[in-house]
């Protein structure tokens, strides 16, 4: 069991290091893309075809890679989570009042940047001075609404 626990973890860590290298090299050429995460597929191929690991070990590798890729959205999209920034600020400054915390953020960084990334993901489109949801965005919004309705929750965020 130890072998099937630690080997997938070791392959995952190696894949993550290779990804860091690939990402940094591509970044020098100003190419920042989620496609770089394809590196993790190599690890998956090694798990399945070369080492012929049991399904649970392959699953372990997939789940570790999944979480890692989810955490990568911040660095790749260039917008860290506001909650994590609050924690980092408080770690550095020990204590802050609400106004100090609010002053550490701007609407441009919190909202404007995300509007830009929604536009590049083609979920919204700008026509004149206004933004509209695309068909793709509507589908996404319908899924989110459906999910939120299960919990009877109002707007998130």
């Amino acid at each position: 069991m130890i072998k099937y626990l630690f080997l997938p973890i070791a392959i995952f860590i190696t894949s993550a290091f290779v990804h860091i290298l690939v990402f940094r090299i591509l970044k020098k050429f100003k190419i920042i893309s989620f496609k770089s995460t394809a590196v993790f597929l190599i690890g998956l191929v090694i798990n399945i075809f070369w080492l012929k690991f049991p399904l649970s070990a392959v699953f372990l590798y997939l789940l570790l890679s999944g979480i890692y890729i989810l955490f990568l959205t911040g660095p790749i999209l260039g917008d860290p989570s506001p909650s994590f920034i609050i924690l980092s600020l408080l770690r550095r400054k020990k204590m802050m009042d609400k106004n100090e915390i609010l002053a550490s953020f701007s609407d441009r960084n919190l909202v404007g940047k995300r509007i830009t990334s929604l536009t590049s993901a083609k979920l919204i489109v700008k026509k004149g001075h206004k933004y509209y949801v695309t068909k793709r965005g509507m589908k996404m919004a319908a899924i989110v609404n459906g999910y939120r309705n299960i919990f009877h929750w109002e707007a998130g965020g």
Partner: protein, 167 residues
């Protein structure tokens, strides 16, 4: 080595069943949980379902496969919370999409979005949530970290390492 091969499917099934039970319980009880208490709810349901999975599998397959399943179950829940639940419940990007969607064909200007959803709303909601989950404490108008290991602290630590490695 043979041991995990023999119990491979069992390990997988128990971890997936644990996860399905987690989602089911979450759907049942989260409609009664206030949005700011959501972190505590996530941890409580995770521990409760994990305990059931660990106990039942230990009896049926043995302790070692149960631990392996529990690891898989933990990762499944983490993927779900970060990738689906967190996205719908607290993503700023998704909230902006919903605001624009609610305007339909009329569309909305960036200024109007900022009136409805701005840094004050975003940050106050997070501060409230982190106070409710015990991540922060509010003392005489000042916010401070509660020094203990927590869901947010672990995630934030991991997040900082990733930012450092990828900067």
């Amino acid at each position: 080595m043979r041991f995990i091969m023999d119990k491979d499917i069992g390990i997988l099934i128990f971890s997936i069943l644990g996860f399905v039970l987690y989602v089911f319980i979450q759907f049942l009880i989260f409609r009664f949980v206030k949005s700011e208490k959501v972190i505590k709810g996530i941890v409580d349901v995770y521990l409760f379902t994990g305990f059931i999975q660990l106990l039942s599998e230990s009896v049926m397959l043995g302790v070692a496969p149960a631990i392996y399943s529990f690891i898989l179950y933990t990762l499944l829940v983490a993927n779900y919370i970060i990738g689906i639940f967190g996205l719908v419940e607290s993503s700023v990007r998704i909230r902006i999409l919903m605001e624009i969607n609610s305007q339909g064909r009329r569309g909305i200007k960036e200024k109007e979005i900022n009136i409805k959803y701005n840094k004050k709303i975003i940050l106050e909601k997070r501060l409230k949530r982190m106070i409710a989950s015990g991540e922060l404490k509010l003392d005489k108008g000042y916010y401070q970290l509660n020094k203990r290991l927590s869901f947010y602290n672990i995630a934030e630590m991991f997040y900082r390492i990733i930012w450092y490695l990828y900067k």
